[in-house]
């Protein structure tokens, strides 16, 4: 069996402050196989985004962060990798898409210039003309009409949906093996979000890119992901294939989360308990979804 693209085992994270240590992650384990789309779902503050940042090595620089456990990328333990090697992975083998596409693009450079920077990560001496060709092709892939014009534009001249597509194109242009999508398109309206997600799904399917999809939007997760991890207060509470988990949510917190989605047919905002002891019930793992190297 080949190593999964991303393997996280017993990851813990705490922040040391003046008032002692605040624990954020209490030993979470998850994996993303090659070409697999895995969603990490949870409410705000549950530890979704910090997990993504640890994978990218952004929190390790923070002096107050205390990180334990294993994060392995394509079989390599990231903590044992020298800083230079880790740095080389970023932007080439791993990339990330953010919530707000418009603020993720620097307003003082054209899209083309920013593409050039991204492409130079993989090929340092890439000439401008060649970068432009590649960028135009990448933009055409994400269904941007008239890529040449988009390359000469600034981010504030494009719509939110266009920017989101530009971000997707940039994230995928170096053919990464892992794409981390941190609530992509939350800042966009629903129809645009749906379009870009469909587009992203097609692209990663074609390229066999593994995706760790971080979201609080269950509808989006259901359409996009193969497997789902539900995270609550720094613990994984339920894990299963998307269809199984939505058809048969077993953990009380997952049930509450599913019930919390307001129905388009009305009926008011559902009443659920904010905090309940039952949410801390042990993890439920659906059949055939064990972590690699563990029984079950």
């Amino acid at each position: 069996m080949t190593a999964p693209t991303l393997l996280i085992r017993d990851l813990t994270l705490g922040f040391r402050g003046w008032a002692g240590q605040v624990d954020v992650l209490h030993g979470i384990s998850l994996h993303v196989g090659k070409g697999e789309r895995v969603a990490l779902v949870g409410e705000s503050g549950s530890g979704k985004s910090v997990t993504a940042r640890i994978v990218l090595g952004l929190l390790q620089q923070l002096k107050t962060a205390r990180i334990g456990g294993l994060v392995a990328f394509e079989g390599q333990d990231l903590a044992r990798l020298p800083e230079r090697e880790r740095h080389r992975l970023r932007g080439t083998k791993m990339s990330m898409i953010f919530q707000d596409p418009t603020s993720s693009l620097n307003p003082v450079y054209t899209i083309g210039a920013q593409f050039h920077e991204v492409l130079k990560r993989a090929e340092p001496g890439l000439p401008k003309a060649r970068a432009r060709e590649k960028a135009a092709a990448a933009l055409a892939d994400v269904a941007i009409p008239d890529p040449e014009r988009a390359l000469d534009s600034y981010s504030f001249q494009l719509s939110g949906g266009m920017n989101q597509r530009v971000m997707i194109a940039m994230a995928l242009v170096n053919e990464p093996s892992l794409l981390i999508a941190d609530e992509p398109g939350t800042a966009l309206d629903v129809t645009v979000q749906a379009q870009t997600l469909a587009l992203m799904r097609d692209l990663v399917e074609k390229r066999h890119t593994s995706v760790l999809f971080i979201s609080h939007n269950l509808g989006v997760v259901r359409e996009f992901a193969d497997r789902v991890y539900v995270i609550y207060k720094g613990r994984i509470v339920e894990h299963g294939r998307t269809a199984d988990l939505f058809a048969d949510p077993r953990h009380p917190y997952t049930r509450a989360l599913l019930a919390a989605v307001p129905r388009i047919t009305g009926g008011g905002i559902p009443e659920i308990e904010d905090v309940s002891d039952s949410y801390f019930a042990p993890m439920v793992v659906h059949e055939g979804c064990g972590e690699p190297g563990e029984a079950g």
């Binding site: 990218l56 952004l58 002096k63 740095h87 080389r88 992975l89 970023r90 932007g91 080439t92 990339s95 990330m96 953010f98 919530q99 707000d100 418009t102 603020s103 993720s104 693009l105 620097n106 307003p107 003082v108 450079y109 920077e117 991204v118 990560r121």
Partner: protein, 277 residues
């Protein structure tokens, strides 16, 4: 750039400012051709025509040794502009770099750099410049040094605050995620977004630098005679007020025109570019 210039020209106040700046700069550059008595910029004595009120050919009158004030003002502009350019050319890069590093890197770097900046800011600017000039020889170079020493902390403060807010922007995180170096993020991502504010402040400051330099030479700590300088011209003439009023009024007006011009343009730029404090 073109758009900015267009907006500046459409607004009557900033258009006036641009005209004033143009007049000052052109008269400084072409002083050799405009000045009726180019030699009067130096140590020339003409007691036959000393202390004359404004009359042809001495349109602004003459000083106590018979030198044409108009010619001397043109050459004094030259020195003021050179001083302004040199001071800003040194103070801005220094201040901006320190502010950028402090704002972006944070932690100990921020603590050390900003406390040093605070020390400079806590001394009243003129006092700082005066004490420096007291220690050093009062020459043009040392004058520039003194004004630069009091000027850079303001740019550090400005850019520090900008960098602190810019570093929370998504594109900074996005750049870090794809592996951009700290230097790249600071100078290629954050700095360009601070440029409008820096340019605005520079335009406003140009006038103030001229004013402060004049204040220093008014106090006798700037450029030394016989080099013409607006501040020392005002100081020399002040003893003979109100009888020889032209000795102070015209150099004073010359300072006013320059400072006013840069301020008008700076204010308008602040509105257009949305920068400044």
């Amino acid at each position: 750039m073109k758009r900015t210039l267009f907006i500046l020209l459409r607004n009557p106040l900033s258009a006036l400012g641009l005209v004033l700046i143009a007049v000052v700069v052109l008269s400084a550059v072409f002083a050799d051709f405009i000045a009726p008595f180019p030699t009067h910029a130096g140590a020339v004595v003409d007691f036959a025509n000393f202390n004359r009120p404004p009359e042809w050919p001495y349109v602004f009158g003459t000083d106590l040794v018979g030198r044409d004030l108009f010619s001397r003002i043109l050459y004094a502009y030259r020195i003021s502009l050179v001083l302004g350019v040199v001071v800003l050319a040194v103070a801005v890069p220094v201040g901006v770099t320190i502010g950028l590093l402090a704002g972006y890197l944070g932690g100990w770097t921020e603590y050390v750099l900003m406390r040093i900046t605070d020390v400079f800011l806590s001394i009243p600017p003129l006092v700082l410049a005066m004490s420096m000039m007291g220690l050093l020889q009062p020459t043009l170079t040392n004058g520039m040094l003194a004004v630069t020493a009091m000027w850079w902390p303001w740019y550090t403060r400005l850019v520090y605050n900008l960098a602190r807010s810019e570093k929370e922007e998504g594109y900074v995180l996005a750049a870090e995620v794809i592996g951009a170096s700290k230097a790249h993020v600071a100078f290629r991502e954050i700095l360009p977004n601070c440029v409008p504010s820096i340019v605005t402040k520079m335009t406003l400051d140009f006038g103030f630098v001229i004013l402060i330099a004049s204040s220093l030479s008014f106090l006798g700590l700037g450029v030394q005679p016989p080099t013409p300088d607006l501040g020392s011209m005002v100081a020399d003439g002040a003893r003979y007020l109100p009888d020889s009023w032209w000795l102070t009024v015209f150099p004073g007006l010359a300072i006013l025109v320059a400072v006013f011009g840069f301020n008008l343009v700076g204010d308008a730029l602040r509105d257009v570019l949305g920068g400044g404090q």
